[in-house]
């Protein structure tokens, strides 16, 4: 019995700091935010302590009964955010898959070096990496200068402050998140299965569809979720590369908190982001983790 209580003491001591810390500074703040999203915004910032569901109504376009007309502007922003995030996911996936496949077939030494090269950006400042694209895409930027020098254009193109610019920026900073899960699932793929499939007469396409795809699917799904979630809530990339023309839900949240001072509405918008995140996590847990444990 004594040994048991000692064990409990040790466990308590080990878990106490992280439990207290995350309860106070993570769970409680999220709870307060959820509560805020249901409170009435005060006239000059702050909140009125009364239940108010119009924060969510407003996101869906309903007028709050007093001032606004029916307006789907927020739904549009939400839709645009989803669309841009989805395009970012597709782009990173298309870029990363062949590269991951290529690297997985290289000798170990080169492999490790290339993996290092792909993870290195993860360790370098995100703002610096985004800044590089500001330098490239703006009117007097590198891209326009290069195209002009090549004689392809005479007037600078409008590259900045477009949806494309935002997608490029997000693809650039989220590539490692897509690459690593895909790569590790391709690494795990048993190449003898591919050979067996070819040996049994399957075409390369059939082999890919029936053998390769099912076993790399968990990695692909994980990568997609890991890219989609931060893309959806991003506000730095649209801020720098999208400007006022490409507003995403993250910019909207920022505005509510730092300029419009409508915290409850901002909180409601955040709750929408959380809801999407939880939905995706649930999909991941039920589809991928379950499939994995059944194997």
């Amino acid at each position: 019995m004594r040994a048991l209580s000692r064990e409990t003491t040790a466990l308590t001591l080990l878990l106490a700091p992280v439990t207290l810390f995350l309860a106070i500074f993570f769970l409680i703040p999220l709870g307060i935010m959820a509560v805020y999203s249901l409170l009435e915004p005060g006239l000059y910032g702050g909140v009125e302590w009364s239940f108010y569901h119009w924060n969510y109504g407003r996101i869906l376009g309903w007028a709050d009964g007093f001032i606004e007309e029916f307006d789907i502007v927020y739904l549009q922003v939400l839709g645009r955010s989803m669309g841009l995030a989805a395009l970012t996911v597709i782009s990173t996936l298309l870029i990363c898959f062949p590269v991951a496949f290529w690297i997985s077939r290289l000798p170990a030494k080169q492999k490790n070096f290339f993996i290092f090269l792909i993870t290195l950006p993860f360790f370098t400042s995100m703002i610096v990496r985004l800044y590089a694209w500001v330098l490239i895409l703006r009117d007097s930027g590198f891209a326009n200068q290069l195209l002009e020098w090549l004689g392809l254009i005479s007037e600078p193109l409008d590259l900045m402050f477009t949806g494309t610019a935002v997608i490029i920026g997000m693809v650039y900073i989220f590539i490692p998140f897509m690459f690593l899960p895909i790569y590790s699932s391709i690494e795990k793929l048993d190449m003898s299965l591919v050979q067996a499939s070819q040996d049994l007469g399957a075409s390369p396409f059939t082999t890919f569809r029936r053998i390769v795809l099912p076993s790399v699917m968990p990695g692909v799904i994980a990568g997609c979720i890991l890219v989609f979630i931060p893309s959806l809530g991003n506000f730095v990339v649209p801020d720098l590369l999208g400007g006022a023309r490409v507003v995403m839900i993250g910019n909207l949240v920022e505005q509510q908190f730092l300029y419009a001072r409508n915290w409850p509405f901002g909180a409601a918008l955040s709750m929408v982001i959380i809801a999407v995140m939880m939905l995706l996590m649930a999909v991941y847990l039920f589809r991928v983790v379950k499939a994995d444990s059944n194997r």
């Binding site: 004594r2 040994a3 048991l4 000692r6």
Partner: protein, 372 residues
């Protein structure tokens, strides 16, 4: 179940009394890892805990080492109750299956760890590390790291690390299972010699019956958390206490039957159409028994040999396999039961389907009380 009584007066050095340990499985069931174990073990015995995986042998070892608790029961070592002591206070040491050497410490530091923790001063420590390594045949490798050693060497370091502390009992958890067959057989002999030299109790866990028969003073056969039999290797082999032991140790031919007649010299057991004579004098008419014969207890009769004083079975040859010095014959009796016989010498003339005369001595026939 049956507990063999040992005549060794010092055999209550390590005592296990009614040890019970049940585990709950994730599916909601209960695994009876130990289901009332009783053992008396002597001060300088080489004891092997033998059984199939899941029989509770490793659990018992872990409980003695202090890594696992007991639901109920009592364990004493040298008249001292063990269970109240946490693992680090127990006067026992373990050689782990995976060796569990400290990868970040040199061989010398590994071996000296227990001494250092116990506060043994450096000069003495260095000397004892040297002695221990010498005992296991690895003198002078103190400076090397475990990762620079072969599996066999790591195994010896693990052994040295345990014996250097002069434990009252050395616990060995399948320490030879990772070695190749040749090295394993060499280590079996070395371990036995080491134990004799040290004169301390070795408690050795294995699922390999050959290993158990080679090294042990006595063997504890465990099954389903219970002691099936405790006895010397010869007792276990020739006088198995249960059908399980008979099947688990070596190969055996077992016939189920009923005693039809007994006299002062033995009994006749009717096994289907077969009447088997045994010299077991503890049988009474009508009792259900199982009769066991080892394959090597049969001899093959041919025209030139006579069956004087022997019992004879007639069987049809189904397969003959050459296994080095002997032939293993798989035969079928008229009743349909398959039996196995190990016979010396040339058998090239034998043909599948041919009837054989297999002789055995009634003195070799061992009976096991049948359990229903």
């Amino acid at each position: 179940m049956s507990i063999a009584f040992s005549h060794n007066p010092a055999s209550d050095y390590l005592r296990v009394r009614n040890a019970v340990r049940h585990f709950n499985t994730p599916e909601g069931g209960v695994v009876k890892a130990l289901d009332g174990i009783n053992l008396n073990i002597g001060q300088s015995e080489f004891i092997t805990l033998l059984g199939p995986s899941g029989c509770g042998k490793t659990t018992l070892l872990k409980i003695i080492a202090g890594f696992e608790r007991l639901d109920s029961g009592k364990i004493t070592l040298d008249s001292q109750t063990l269970l109240e002591l946490s693992a680090h206070r127990r006067p026992v040491n373990t050689v782990f299956q995976s060796y569990a050497l400290f990868p970040h410490m040199s061989v010398g530091d590994n071996v000296g760890y227990g001494l250092e923790v116990a506060g043994v001063k450096k000069p003495e420590r260095v000397q004892r590390i040297g002695e221990a390594l010498e005992m296991v045949g690895l003198a002078g490798i103190e400076k090397r790291l475990p990762s620079q050693l072969s599996g066999g060497q790591q195994q010896r370091v693990a052994l040295a690390r345990a014996i250097v502390n002069r434990p009252k009992v050395l616990l060995l958890d399948e320490p030879l299972s990772a070695l190749d067959r040749h090295l394993r057989m060499k280590m079996q002999i070395e371990l036995k010699n080491l134990q004799t030299e040290l004169g301390i109790c070795f408690l050795f866990v294995t699922h390999d019956q050959e290993e158990a028969l080679t090294m042990s003073d006595r063997i504890v056969v465990l099954n389903g958390g219970k002691v099936e039999q405790l006895g010397t290797p010869t007792e276990i082999y020739h006088r198995p206490a249960s059908r399980f032991v008979a099947d688990f140790i070596g190969e055996s031919n077992v016939f189920e039957g009923k005693v039809v007649r007994f006299d002062d010299f033995g009994a006749d057991v009717q096994c289907g159409e077969l009447l088997i004579r045994t010299e077991d004098r503890n049988l009474i008419t009508g009792s259900a028994v199982e009769v066991m014969l080892r394959p090597e207890q049969f001899t093959l009769l041919d025209s030139s040999t006579s069956a004087a004083g022997q019992q004879v079975l007639t069987a049809t040859l189904e397969q003959a396999v050459f296994v080095g010095s002997d032939h293993q014959l798989v035969c079928r009796l008229a009743s349909g039961q398959q039996i196995s016989a190990l016979v010396r010498g040339h058998c090239h003339h034998l043909q599948v389907g041919q009837p054989l005369q297999l002789a055995y001595s009634s003195a070799d026939v061992h009976t096991i009380p049948a359990v229903f």
